[in-house]
């Protein structure tokens, strides 16, 4: 700490805001194997996202021929945050899956 030419020391208030702690949650248990599983492919509306998942789907089926896939195409960056009218559709889609591969296009 040093004083400036006038010998003034400033006592600063913090600009960084408080935020309430958020209850934390761990990840879901992983699968033993992807063979025979139904894998969801979720892409947002960024243009690279569906292309990424097309490649991932092909590689998945090459490696696990008995795996099934199911696409969900978001119309925005986030179904759960921005597409309230599709919540039921999204929830139903999730229920029918064993795991999800997501691409956000970024």
């Amino acid at each position: 700490m040093s004083a400036d030419n006038a010998g003034i020391l400033y006592e600063m208030l913090s600009p960084w805001s408080e935020a309430d702690p958020i209850p934390l949650q761990g990840l879901s248990p992983r699968l033993d194997d992807l063979a025979g599983k139904k894998i969801g492919l979720l892409c947002n509306n960024k243009r690279a996202a569906p292309v990424i998942l097309d490649v991932a789907e092909r590689l998945l089926k090459e490696k696990y021929p008995t795996a099934e896939t199911s696409y969900f195409h978001a119309r925005t960056f986030s179904v759960s945050s921005l597409e309230r009218d599709r919540k039921d559709e999204f929830d139903d889609w999730i229920k029918g899956l064993d795991a999800v591969i997501a691409s956000v296009g970024d």
């Binding site: 700490m1 400036d4 208030l13 600009p15 805001s17 935020a19 702690p21 999800v100 691409s103 956000v104």
Partner: protein
């Protein structure tokens, strides 16, 4: 990332492909939803890439990592993440000289790179005289960090930016605009470098000497310079959107330092923006838009026909969101004298802004993917550049500001405008009198 978290919380293992430069952004997004440890597979696909060969190569290289992310047993930390130390620093954070303070705040990532005014207890108390709300009043919680925008935190950031206390009503209304817009956090973080553009309306504009005339959006006036700056600092320090951590703007945007104008209501023939949005003319208000680009041009003619021809001939389909026509009072008068209203100008632009039939063919583009996610315009898509929707029913705006000249402008991109009324404190006249005369007095040479 929000959807991946949502799915994990629904009990389904999830892995997300993300560009390798976006891992911090992904982790901040996940933390903000209560899942600080997520499984992301970094890849090398540049955001928004359309090069299929690059995507093929990049995903092939990491596909086994994605399989492992779905099958490899969880670690103890992934099963039960431990709370991070809450970064809620003490109210008094530092003591030092002006130079020390600036270095400390800069190194904490709390500034925009420009020097700050030290937010001392007395300076912040004086700033708080600009509102009747108590210092601990929470105006909003701003996502993604969900930081609490109390009056005092707004005032601290306002002092840092160099604001005068008379700006507090607009700053508080500005925070409400940021909170009311469901995608403003996303705009602040977007690769598109969308910048807040603040338009001030009502009597407060003259009370605080917010510039509406020549060079309104240029440097030189405290109100225009510091109101946008303060709201930018709030975005970092309350919202928690920091450059290349959460803000992944690729090119960046100088408007993020500050981009503020007062509407030139004195010389505009049209109803002011805040009146168009439901407030009274005598109300004071601030309007938030998020353009990613700003363009000025000399119109083909300075009458309505010439200006509209310039607009229609210049809008390209590769754009995202709102279109704001920036008219000088002189241009607005040309429209009004010819019988045009703002509503008619908007309708004309929406109706006539279409992609020429051979546009994409001439550009050598024959794909089928839309350029504009909002309208679906692009090769094989609609020819309409604007498509009013439930989410954006009024995609064209008209703002009137600036001096008396013939340049016109566009500000393009982002979600629909949000306007909030500024509530002035009871002793506004006294406060205004105290600060009203702080104006530049340029000497002649």
């Amino acid at each position: 990332m929000y959807d991946a978290i949502y799915i994990e919380k629904a009990g389904k293992p999830t892995v997300t492909f993300a560009f390798e430069h976006f891992l911090n952004d992904a982790m901040s997004a996940a933390s903000s939803k209560g899942m600080p440890v997520v499984r992301v597979v970094p890849e090398t696909i540049v955001s928004e890439s359309t090069v299929v060969a690059d995507i093929e190569k990049a995903i092939t290289a990491v596909f086994d990592d994605a399989v492992a992310a779905l099958t490899k047993p969880l670690t103890a930390e992934e099963k039960s993440p431990q709370p991070r130390e809450q970064e809620n620093p003490p109210r008094i954070i530092f003591k030092g000289s002006l130079e020390d303070v600036n270095r400390f705040f800069y190194q904490r990532g709390w500034t925009d790179g420009l020097p700050i005014i030290p937010p001392t207890e007395s300076a912040v108390a004086e700033m708080c005289t600009g509102t009747d709300l108590p210092a601990d009043h929470i105006v909003a919680e701003l996502e993604p960090r969900r930081g609490k925008a109390t009056v005092e935190k707004i005032a601290i950031n306002a002092v840092m930016a160099g604001c005068l206390p008379t700006y507090m009503p607009l700053l508080i209304a500005g925070v409400e605009c940021l909170s009311d817009n469901p995608v403003s956090g996303m705009m602040a973080a977007s690769t598109g470098s969308f910048s807040p553009f603040w338009l001030i309306n009502g009597p407060v504009a003259k009370d605080i000497n917010a510039r509406a005339t020549y060079g309104a959006a240029s440097p030189g006036d405290i109100a225009n310079a510091t109101i946008g700056r303060a709201l930018g600092l709030l975005t970092k320090n309350i919202r928690g959107v920091r450059k290349q951590v959460e803000d992944m703007g690729v090119l960046g945007n100088p408007g993020k330092y500050t981009w503020v104008a007062a509407e030139n209501e004195e010389f505009s023939p049209f109803e002011p923006q805040h009146v168009e949005r439901g407030l009274k003319k005598e109300d004071s208000a601030i309007t938030l838009t998020f353009p990613q680009s700003f363009q000025q041009m000399m119109p083909f003619g300075t009458d309505a026909k010439g200006i509209l021809a310039t607009v229609i001939g210049s809008i390209v389909p590769a754009r995202m969101g709102q279109f704001i026509l920036l008219l000088t009072p002189a241009h607005a008068r040309s429209f009004a004298d010819a019988g045009w209203t703002k509503k008619a100008i908007k309708e004309y632009i929406v109706k006539n802004a279409v992609v020429p039939e051979d546009y994409f063919e001439r550009l050598g583009l024959d794909g089928s993917r839309a350029f504009d996610r909002g309208t679906g315009s692009g090769p094989g898509g609609t020819r309409d550049i604007f498509r009013p929707s439930r989410h954006d029913p009024d995609p064209v705006q008209v703002f009137v500001y600036g001096g008396f000249g013939s340049w016109m402008g566009f500000a393009q991109g982002g979600p629909p405008p949000v306007t909030r009324k500024a509530e002035l404190p009871k002793d506004w006249a006294k406060l205004m009198a105290k600060y009203k005369n702080i104006v530049p007095n340029y000497i002649r040479y």
